[in-house]
Symmetry: C2
């Protein structure tokens, strides 16, 4: 089956090449992130980012040097932070829950709310969908260090739950993708990635998605 990995082998250390930015640099990266999510990689303006960050334009050039390097820094920052929050959520995957539906719903909320809905997750998804063709750096970073690595891990979680008798799965990686697709299906996306869904909306989407997921994959012997 290929999913027989152990949770404790996961390396939770953040990717080494992304120093935790603080101070002005942090403000610049956050502002740049907002700008990218709002306007796209091609339409961002250094002036606007500097103004949004409450910093002079020269400071941006001092820290990042170049628009290209600014973009790369944003990509790395978003990837690292998003991966870290995803790892944190995955670490809470239920092992032997009393109530599978409740446990999976809570896990879905933990996955959706801080990971898919926060600024980093939205920015990353946006970037991957839109810019992976133009910035090879992006896809490379994602595959090497980011949540791209985490998908097999999520699949492993479901395989474990199946091995414990809670689920009946043919293919754990399909189940993992369908799980995420189902809990995301009911999130209101029409408002655009700039608007964070409410907690209630997330809760409802998770519950509805998990119910369908379990209709498909719950073990019948329980």
């Amino acid at each position: 089956m290929g999913y027989g990995f152990c949770m404790s082998t996961i390396d939770f250390a953040p990717p080494p090449f992304v120093p935790q930015a603080t101070g002005k640099l942090r403000a610049i990266l956050d502002a740049a992130k907002r700008a990218v999510v709002r306007d796209g990689l091609n339409a961002i303006s250094i002036d606007a980012i500097a103004a949004d960050a409450g910093v002079s334009r020269q400071t941006v050039y001092n820290h990042l040097g170049d628009k290209e390097q600014l973009v790369i820094a944003v990509i790395r920052d978003v990837t690292a932070r998003s991966s870290a929050s995803l790892m944190a959520a995955v670490a809470t995957f239920p092992d032997r829950p009393d109530d599978v539906e409740a446990a999976l719903t809570e896990f879905a909320v933990r996955l959706l709310d801080p990971c898919m809905c926060d600024i980093d997750g939205r920015a990353l998804r946006w970037l991957l969908e839109r810019e992976s063709g133009r910035y090879p750096e992006l896809l490379q970073t994602w595959q090497a260090y980011g949540p791209g690595q985490d998908w097999p891990i999520i699949a492993g979680c479901f395989a474990r739950l199946a091995a414990n008798g809670y689920l009946e799965l043919d293919d754990a990686s399909v189940a993992a993708r369908h799980f995420v697709a189902l809990i995301s299906a009911d999130l209101p996306t029409a408002q655009g990635p700039c608007v964070r869904p409410s907690r209630e909306a997330v809760q409802k989407a998770a519950a509805t998605g998990v119910r369908t997921f379990l209709r498909a994959f719950a073990s019948r012997q329980r």
Copy 2:
């Protein structure tokens, strides 16, 4: 239940306010569409669009008058064409199939391949996700004439299939959303919206998604 509509009542006429563009205008709109999908609404250049359309810049201004109006024209065009192709696919929803799984898989392919994957569908999804906040015209047009209207229709299709005894549904609109989410889940999106998935990939994604869908919703008495 509220889904008791009849197929023959659907108005297949295209929205009245979008004349079928031909000739140079068609070329301009197509080029603009490609540019928007590739670069975003903020980053498009009239010069580049004109060059891509094989047309002089002045002709763009003659036809559309303004960048703002160009964007609005693209939105209307994309919405109308996407809605038309979605309607055409929905009209082929299976009624009393011998093999539900095969019939739904074929329908899923018809839904995915021309509707979600063609340039209009991708452009529309892209626009909705990204620009609905800034261009109220977009959300308005979508809700009034576009595929936004079609969701209840798809839900009605599933309700009918359930009424015919093929499915067991609590909520047909949830089932419709989950159906689309599942058949879309396995499409390779990491390549970005500029790359159209291969026919085989679409076929595989549809089959996998439908299998899970039927695990959840297939009637057990058949």
